[in-house]
Symmetry: C2
Subunit: 275 residues, 2 copies
């Protein structure tokens, strides 16, 4: 792979907001794209061709699939009015209307159920909670490959988990049959260069990478370190945020889940057994 | 990005086992790595350094995280006896013992729960089914970035979903605290070049990519086409397999889930509310 000249602050240092961090010995254009990821929330109106979306989908299908079941599908939404209605489901996220394409990634058991019905074959295993996770994981692995592919082409993306705020409206909008559930959306478009978002620093590696067994004691110091580093970034942007306050508020109660506390009944309504 | 000379069969054609497929206009080293993915099940004994694993983890942490909650962690397992015991959980998958590293990706609410307890703050939102999916999705997006990073460095990987066959043994082995659940393993090592695995073809794009709304009718023809294409590949390898028969068998019954039909009680035992 071609060597890319390192920037004054290496992408790994940037990812942890830690200029003192050791720079890795190995580097290549793939690692560069992965580490430079930013969620993009302002887009130019420039189009993204159907061929480009097809390329993102072949990248997505190249990800591993549990037992090669391939229990996912993706809906390419371009219609402006449909995107506006889905933006409303997602609490009015403007970027869904601004960018030309919204990809909706689904856990899809409809394909296999039709196959089983045609052959009068049993498919009781699809009624278990496990199978819903397989569908969600398969969809996530696929979508992440699409994100990396998009960014390698200079496009921007942002995941829209808020489609789970009202899964029934999403299902009606996309005519999802029984057994298909919209896991999340993914906006795809050309980033507005004036957006100015910086790479979001993450928890120190010590918090998430454990050796041989899980270490809970390390978490307090790692989180305190992170609270300070990300706090400095927020202050630079004039934002009075605390990571700790924000994550605790997000998960404080059923109400803070914005409707997703009802996910069990939504999945059941979509034909997921969850046994 | 550097242009790579296309092979006689383009990676996109190879992914669908369809030499007649139109070749994409855009191409780059990232797309190359994504499309060439293979799950590797035979490894050389060559080591993988701790620094390389750290690089995979910074790539993983660069993936999007729902509301920046970062509700995942990863355990790096190198100890040979521990890997042997985890291979036994996974139904005796030899490659877990053969490769030097097993990464176990977890949905992790222990970090945030400790944070909440320290502050006497509520965290009732973590007890909902929704939150378990957020943890699983976050872990999957992160792990997939690690896979792409590993492959860019010439390493091979394979996901080990079978750790979910017996989550209690995995939790005991890795000393996972309450609120941490092992979603899947990921073997990382140097591929044995004599393995000879080919890229696994996937369902035609028409089966998984829908425009504006889901199309169930298209699935029958797409699956029939796939059954034939992958059947030819199986026959070349002397394997009397049918994709349709295999997926229907995998999901036929509770028993065919190899213990994962009990996932609900395992998650509950690990402190996941699933409300």
């Amino acid at each position: 792979m071609t060597q890319i000249a390192p920037s004054p602050v290496h992408p790994v240092q940037q990812r942890y907001a830690d200029p003192a961090l050791a720079v890795p010995g190995a580097w290549n254009p793939v690692l560069q794209v992965l580490h430079e990821h930013k969620s993009v929330r302002r887009y130019l109106p420039d189009p993204v061709s159907p061929e480009t979306i097809e390329l993102l989908v072949s990248a997505a299908q190249s990800a591993a699939s549990s037992s090669n079941l391939q229990v996912w599908s993706v809906i390419e939404v371009r219609d402006a009015e449909r995107r506006a209605r889905l933006a409303a489901v997602a609490g009015g996220q403007q970027h869904i209307e601004q960018a030309p394409v919204l990809l909706v990634w689904t856990a899809d058991f409809a394909r296999l159920r039709q196959l089983a019905e045609d052959r009068d074959a049993p498919l009781a295993g699809s009624d278990y909670l496990e199978s819903s996770y397989v569908g969600f994981i398969d969809a996530a692995l696929a979508a992440q490959n699409a994100v990396v592919a998009a960014e390698s082409l200079g496009l921007g993306t942002v995941y829209i988990g808020a489609l789970r705020n009202d899964p029934e409206r999403v299902a009606a909008e996309l005519q999802l049959p029984d057994g298909v559930f919209a896991v999340f959306g993914l906006v795809v478009g050309h980033p507005d260069p004036t957006e100015g978002t910086r790479v979001k620093p993450r928890l120190p590696r010590a918090a998430v990478l454990h050796r041989e067994s899980y270490d809970l004691a390390v978490q307090r110091a790692a989180v305190a370190d992170y609270e300070q580093r990300i706090g400095e970034l927020y202050r630079d942007q004039g934002l009075p945020f605390s990571w700790i306050e924000r994550v605790l508020a997000r998960l404080a109660s059923a109400a803070s889940l914005n409707g997703r506390d009802r996910l069990r009944e939504h999945l059941t309504a979509r034909g997921f057994g969850l046994r």
